[in-house]
Homo-oligomer: 244 residues x 2
DNA sequence: TTGCTCCTCACGTCACGTGAGGTGGC
DNA sequence: TTGCTCCTCACGTCACGTGAGGTGGC
């Protein structure tokens, strides 16, 4: 306690309390993001209560993945856009990573049997993988037949229904409605009915479609009718409603 | 075409063909990963067929996210461990990102109504979020009651069943069995039955459990009984089996 | 001779980690 | 006086991007 009654913290204490390293605090000081309001006669950093508050704000934004360079500006103004753009960027990154995981785990499946794997084996496996489409020729034939059955109009209605369901799910997400909610489960039934109609009730075709949505991203697999976050929520909702 | 009949490629051509930048090729040369077998009298890089083959191998591994420093060593030996460790690392990264997405989208839900968001609003929202547990107090009470009902032995049996199902799913994944396969759908029914028993058939508790698995990672939410990749596969399998 | 491609430095990126070498404060 | 904490440089990270300034080859 000092004479003026305001407590000061040293870097070590702050590092301990915030879970940051001392170097990180030095870094924040260097770039002017969080500077101690005072220095001791020996040059030691002394942080005041206001500094500590600011530090916690910075850490909160940093933990959301926002670059330090953007945080300084954000702290002053409206955070909405920053958080939103962060979400969009994260969505893309997750999409890419999930596609990468899909490729890697498929690779592992192909490589699994062999004890030793050379680069040539790997390249062969990757070639097989790239050739392997989500649908078998027979499944594609049946899909096309189904497509011809309903005609262009029917296909258009399917797509419209996809888009409509997607918008409905997005509303559920934004309003924070959980997947177990009856209104959501009603949406899930619509989805399931649509998928059954599109696939002609063939579960293996359904599995291939879902694999494609996971592997390529929902947007690419549904002609932009369904977005990845909607699809992730839908999967959870389907899981919750299973066997009902 | 040269006298000895072997074609040579210049950096620009290779860059065009491989989708890399010229600078990337320079970089590969600098670190000794892919060096042109020849230089023209003026110092221009000339790549032979063997160099091009090596380049494509390098790109294949690079696209799997393997660091350039590891690729040099990997090309000579067994690729199995490298790919496997890559998968494990990716799994962790995706887990973290999904938890981050969960937090961000929850935040968006909380912030959604307001037109302008200050740092204080954000910190309040984050505090609410951190306090918000996956289970409501009432759900926790019911879970505990259910727990007491079956006793420690019953709980142990649940966990054993979880572990057993998880191992079964892992076998499906490694053997490349699709989610629509009857054997997999049999596993899915076991899973569903177990979850119904654990939750006492309450879908909102089930939703909370699934949210926790998505939000914290399957390992953390299931006491290491279920791994994230197994859970992702299971979700797809549940989606495929929905309404059966 | 004119474009176009190619070359070699060499600094910048992002958020710190990791020493080196030295001083402050109980 | 002895530990412990603190300080300031300053280089390294990873896979290139981005100029600057200059030459090769059709």
């Amino acid at each position: 306690m000092r004479k003026d009654g305001e407590r000061r913290w040293k870097v070590g204490e702050l590092a301990q309390a915030s879970g940051l390293t001392v170097r990180a605090l030095h870094h924040f000081d260097e770039i002017g993001l969080v500077r101690p309001c005072e220095r001791s006669s020996g040059g030691h950093r002394l942080y005041g209560a206001a500094d500590v508050r600011r530090l916690y704000q910075v850490v909160a934004l940093r933990d959301l993945g926002i670059p330090l360079a953007d945080i300084a500006a954000s702290l002053a103004g409206d955070l909405g856009p920053v958080v939103r753009s962060q979400v969009a960027q994260l969505e893309r990154a997750i999409g890419e990573q999930q596609r990468l995981r899909y490729r890697l785990s498929t690779l592992l499946g192909v490589l699994g049997e062999e004890s030793e794997t050379s680069t040539d084996d790997l390249l062969d496996a990757m070639e097989i993988m790239m050739k392997a489409r989500y649908f078998t020729p027979e499944q594609l034939r049946r899909l096309k037949a189904r497509h011809a059955e309903v005609g262009a109009d029917g296909f258009g209605r399917w797509r419209a229904e996809w888009t409509s369901i997607s918008a409905e799910v997005r509303r559920h997400i934004t309003h924070g409605v959980g997947p177990a909610d009856p209104t959501v489960q009603e949406t899930v039934r619509r989805w399931s009915a649509l998928m059954t109609e599109m696939t002609g009730g063939d579960r293996s075709i359904l599995a291939a479609m879902y694999a494609k949505m996971d592997g390529q991203g929902a947007e690419a697999a549904t002609l932009d009718a369904v977005q990845t976050d909607v699809w992730e929520y839908m999967k959870r909702a389907l899981a919750v409603g299973y066997g009902q």
